[in-house]
Amino acid sequence: MEFNYLLDYFLFTFVASFGAIQIALSKKYSARTLFGAFLVISAYWWFFASRNRNVHTIVEGTQLFFVFSFSTVLAIVATKIFTGAGERK
C-alpha cells in the first residue's frame, strides 16, 4: 500500500517535473511549451483522478521530499536524452 503510494507519487512528480523543465527551456508558445504543459496537466489529472489522495498513510514529508528530488534528477536526465535525440534528428 505505502510502496504503491510512493510509486504513484514518484510517477506524478517525474512526469510533472519533466513537463515543467520543458516549459522552462522552451521559447514562448512553442510546441515544446505545449508539450510541457500537456505533461504537467496529464500528471495532475492522472494522480488525482486515479485514487482518493485524502487518506492517511505512513508516508512522511521527508520521504516525499526525497522522492521528489529523485524524480526531478531523473527528469533532468530524461530531458538530456530527449534534447540529445532532438538534436541528432
Binding site: A24, V40, N54, K80
Partner: protein
C-alpha cells in the same frame, strides 16, 4: 469573548459551508492534501532554476532559499509540537471533516508554514510567479480550515512563521550563494546542465 473563542467561532463559520456547494467541496478536497499545492510550488521553483532569464542567478537562489527555509520552519514546528499541544478542531468541536484525521498537534500549521516559506522565496525572485505562489499558499491554508483540520489561528501563525523564516534565512547571503553554486557545480560535474 477571548481570542480562542473568536478563533473557534471563525472556524465554525468557515467549516459550516461544507456540504453546501458540491463544486467548492470538490475543489477543497483537491487542494487540501500534502500533494497538490506543495508539488505545484516545488514545480515553480524548478521552473525558476531552468528558465533562461537575465537575472538567472537571482532566480536560482530561490531553490536553496526555499529548501533552507522549509528546513528551518519544519524544525521550529517540530520543536513547538513538543510543548504546545493543541487539539485539532474535529477533536473539540462538531466539525465537518473533508480530510483524514491528522494525529499531530494543530498549532501551528506545518502545511501553512511550508507553503508560505516556498511562496515567499518565489516572490522574492519573481513577482508574477510569486503572486501565483502566494495565492496557492492562501488557498491551501484556507482549505485546511474549511476541511476541518486546522483553526484559523493555526494557519495564520504557520503562514507568518513561513514568511519570517524566509526573511531570516535570506539574511545569510553567503550561505545562499554557496548553496546555489554547490548545486550548479554538482549539475555541471554530473553532466546534468540542460541549459548548456
Amino acid at each position: 469573548m477571548n481570542w480562542l473563542n473568536i478563533d473557534r467561532a471563525l472556524f465554525l463559520a468557515i467549516n459550516s459551508f461544507v456540504g453546501k456547494v458540491a463544486v467548492f467541496d470538490s475543489l477543497m478536497r483537491l487542494v487540501v492534501n500534502e500533494y497538490f499545492v506543495p508539488v505545484s510550488l516545488a514545480l515553480i521553483v524548478l521552473y525558476l532554476w531552468f528558465a533562461p532569464r537575465k537575472n538567472r542567478q537571482t532566480q536560482r537562489k530561490t531553490l536553496p532559499l526555499a529548501a533552507l527555509s522549509v528546513g528551518l520552519v519544519d524544525v521550529i514546528v517540530t520543536f513547538s509540537n513538543q510543548f504546545i499541544i493543541r487539539e485539532r478542531p474535529f477533536q473539540e468541536l462538531a466539525a465537518k471533516l473533508l480530510f483524514y484525521k491528522p494525529t499531530d498537534p494543530s498549532f501551528p500549521s506545518n502545511a501553512a508554514a511550508v507553503s508560505f516559506a516556498i511562496a515567499t522565496a518565489i516572490f522574492i525572485a519573481n513577482k508574477k510567479l510569486g503572486i501565483v505562489a502566494i495565492i496557492l499558499a492562501v488557498v491551501y491554508g484556507f482549505s485546511r480550515v474549511y476541511a476541518g483540520v486546522h483553526y484559523p489561528s493555526d494557519v495564520v501563525v504557520g503562514s507568518l512563521l513561513g514568511v519570517f523564516g524566509v526573511l531570516l534565512v535570506r539574511r545569510f547571503k553567503k550561505l545562499i550563494q554557496i548553496s546555489t553554486e554547490l548545486i550548479q557545480k554538482i549539475q555541471t560535474k554530473t553532466n546534468l546542465d540542460v541549459n548548456s
